[in-house]
């Protein structure tokens, strides 16, 4: 995916390497979360760090999300640089007071006299019956709060570089990780490097349609793009948005001026989604560029059901994205080409696990 020196590392390994190198780099960094030093090590993202940095820098945590978020904010105000982890983003809801009232506001309300360098990693679950309280995609809710930066890297390369940038940032940064990305491999440089927290990236170039995608949906959009190109000769431009707040609207507009058509693919439910915000911002200034109404691809407006029988259509797939492309361009679906597209994107794997060799933990 990247024309750079590096080794194949999965997303989880890249996060572990980012934490390791950052902690080596700066002794003020401390790491805390429920299960951080336990045998499963937050899906191996914190493996060996307790052994390497000791009990005064790597902590397990009482089951007290709001209190410990505030304690991390206080530690940050007093010179530390805490990194906190929630195995599921749903648990971070217990900490909304400290995130919204203190972490996000402190710098502003005290006129810039103090700041809160604080990273919170939150993992979004999916599949294997994660259900209503273990698989929410709440990025838009966090992004609504001025003072918080919210990022969702998709590749292992960006996970490492963006986590390092987040840790070096002087303010609070929420990094939302999709659980189905943790095992996805990419070329990851060995050195300590930064990826900016405010820039989308072009994953696949094209002139037909702009697909602005978030997190796991960027990976799904890439699969759709490859099939559309090889089967139908349609080139779509896929943007991995990478950052939720700020949104890189300039990158979307640049692509849109080439394509004139916009599809936004989000991991969240439709109503109030960041996809809607992105479209609103684009339409306000680029209405004249649009050849067709913009499209949101998102999950339905009800919680995630647990039973895999009910959850089967809950998540959009590469086929959903390809269909939206076919429709927005106005291509025939009663054609041999379209039939071949369906075959190319056909996926006979169980829908509730990321791939055949993935056996959990979820």
């Amino acid at each position: 995916m990247h024309n750079i020196e590096g080794r194949d590392l999965c997303f989880a390994e890249a996060i572990r390497e980012a934490l390791d190198q950052a902690m080596q780099h700066d002794s003020r960094i401390i790491l805390i979360g429920e299960g951080v030093p336990d045998p499963k090590a937050i899906f191996n993202t914190t493996e060996g760090l307790r052994e390497k940095y000791g009990i005064t820098r790597v902590f397990d945590m009482p089951l007290a999300e709001n209190g410990l978020t505030g304690i991390c904010v206080g530690a940050a105000l007093a010179g530390m640089r805490p990194v906190m982890v929630h195995q599921r983003v749903d648990f971070a809801l217990l900490a909304m007071d400290q995130l919204v009232n203190n972490a996000a506001k402190w710098h502003y309300m005290f006129d810039g006299k103090a700041s809160v360098p604080f990273v919170v990693r939150m993992i979004v679950g999916r599949g294997w019956g994660q259900g209503p309280q273990h698989s929410q995609s709440l990025q838009a809710m966090f992004a609504q709060v001025s003072g918080l930066k919210v990022i969702m890297p998709m590749s292992a390369h960006d996970a490492k570089g963006m986590l390092i940038s987040a840790i070096e940032d002087e303010g609070p940064v929420l990094m939302i990780e999709h659980r189905w990305l943790h095992h996805v491999k990419d070329l990851v440089p060995e050195n300590y490097y930064r990826v900016p927290l405010d820039q989308a990236k072009v994953l696949h170039e094209g002139n037909a349609v702009t697909v602005a995608a978030f997190s796991y949906m960027a990976l799904e959009s890439l699969a759709a793009a490859k099939a559309l190109k090889s089967v139908m000769g349609v080139d779509i431009e896929v943007l991995d948005m990478r950052s939720i707040r700020p949104l890189d609207i300039a990158a979307v507009i640049k692509s849109l001026r080439k394509t004139g058509r916009l599809i936004v693919a989000d991991t969240a439910s439709r109503t109030g989604s960041i996809a809607g915000e992105l479209i609103a911002q684009v339409v306000e200034t680029e209405f004249h560029t649009l050849k067709a109404p913009p499209v949101r691809i998102a999950s339905p407006d009800y919680p995630t059901p647990t039973s895999h029988f009910m959850a089967e259509r809950y998540y959009p797939t590469p086929q959903t994205i390809a269909d939206a492309v076919v429709k927005i361009i106005g291509l025939e679906t009663d054609s041999e080409n379209y039939h071949q597209l369906l075959c190319a994107l056909q996926d006979n794997r169980p829908h509730d696990i990321p791939n055949r060799d993935f056996a959990g933990p979820f």
Binding site: N66, I71, C72, G74, L77, A78, Q98, D111, V116, P117
Partner: protein, 324 residues
């Protein structure tokens, strides 16, 4: 290095209380002019806790506070000009006008910040103490909160973590029996607050919050223990709020407490009580008092003058500093 503190001068202790009282009276008097356009919670009647506690710690020690923070801020050494200007929404305010009375800060004297979400700053104090502990500093951190705050889950989460890691933090509960206009017996079962704190695994003490020397002595002991590795300390001081929950006035008209109760509460005045105690040991006390009163009035006049002459921020000042 934080040096051991010298024995406290009784006149200095008295001066701190008197100064807080006179400053808040002046604020109350001018509030009706409607130029201090922010909610204001006065601590009149509760000055002994701010004064006694602050006299037991060093400037390098850290302090967090809540919505009723004027006394804490002033006792810790926070700039009066910065506070008054903040209440008037001026650029020279300690938050540049972004905070008002409920958000005070003066990092030059270790006053880390006050905010009005109940329980909001309690974990921050624990976090700051955690940082001091990790840095092996001798600094202690202190946080003020009320009896209502003790009902918040986040406070118990904070006590748990502080006890677990034996952090140098001192929790100061100002128990005035009221959360806004609701008495404690409508909110909590009949059990002592400090005993519950003790059950978290820390030293806990209770005392008369209107007796400044008692506050000082209890806090000195606690600070000494916290500074020397004995872990968190919890102090509960009983006191009484004279005026309305929010605003400059008395509130007899609301009838949630009797005028007899308010009168009896005001008879237990921390400033007057300490005045009668120390006037006997100072031969020229009357003269000293008149000098103090004059000095404080001059300082107040100059702080108001400073605020009035300070530049007003504009709408464009509201942007920026959202991200560090």
């Amino acid at each position: 290095m934080i040096s051991d503190l010298q024995p406290v001068d009784d006149l200095a202790l008295f001066y701190t209380m008197l100064r807080i009282r006179r400053i808040e009276e002046a604020l109350a008097q001018r509030y009706a002019e409607q130029e201090m356009r922010c909610p204001m919670h006065l601590c009149i009647g509760q000055e002994a806790i701010a004064a006694g506690v602050s006299a037991a710690i060093a400037t390098e020690d850290l302090m967090f506070s809540n919505h009723r923070a004027h006394g804490h801020y002033l006792a810790k050494g926070g700039s009066l000009q910065g506070m008054v200007s903040e209440l008037y929404g001026r650029k020279t305010g300690c938050c540049g006008g972004r905070g008002g009375s409920m958000h005070l800060i003066d990092l030059t004297v270790g006053f880390m910040g006050a905010t009005p979400i109940v329980g909001g700053t309690v974990p921050l104090a624990v976090g700051a103490a955690w940082a001091s502990s990790l840095k092996k500093s001798r600094q202690v951190t202190l946080v003020f909160f009320g009896d209502g705050c003790f009902e918040e889950g986040v406070v118990h989460e904070s006590l748990n973590f502080a006890a677990l890691h034996k952090l140098p933090v001192i929790f100061v509960c100002e128990n005035n029996d009221f959360s806004v206009y609701t008495r404690r017996n409508e909110r909590q079962p009949d059990r002592p607050i400090f005993e519950l704190a003790k059950a978290h695994g820390m030293d806990a003490f209770a005392g008369n919050g209107n007796d400044v020397e008692e506050v000082l002595n209890i806090t000195k002991l606690a600070v000494d223990k916290a500074r020397n590795g004995a872990g968190p300390q919890f102090l509960e001081f009983r006191t009484y709020r004279w005026r309305e929950h929010c605003g400059p006035n008395f509130d007899d008209n609301l009838n949630y407490r009797t005028s007899q109760e308010i009168e009896s509460g005001m008879k237990d005045c921390p400033v007057e009580a300490y005045k009668s105690k120390i006037e006997k040991v100072h031969s020229s006390f009357k003269h000293i008092i008149s000098l103090y009163e004059q000095e404080i009035q001059d300082e107040i006049a100059s702080a108001f003058a400073f605020a009035f002459s300070s530049e007003k921020p504009t709408v464009s000042d509201a942007e920026g500093k959202v991200y560090a």
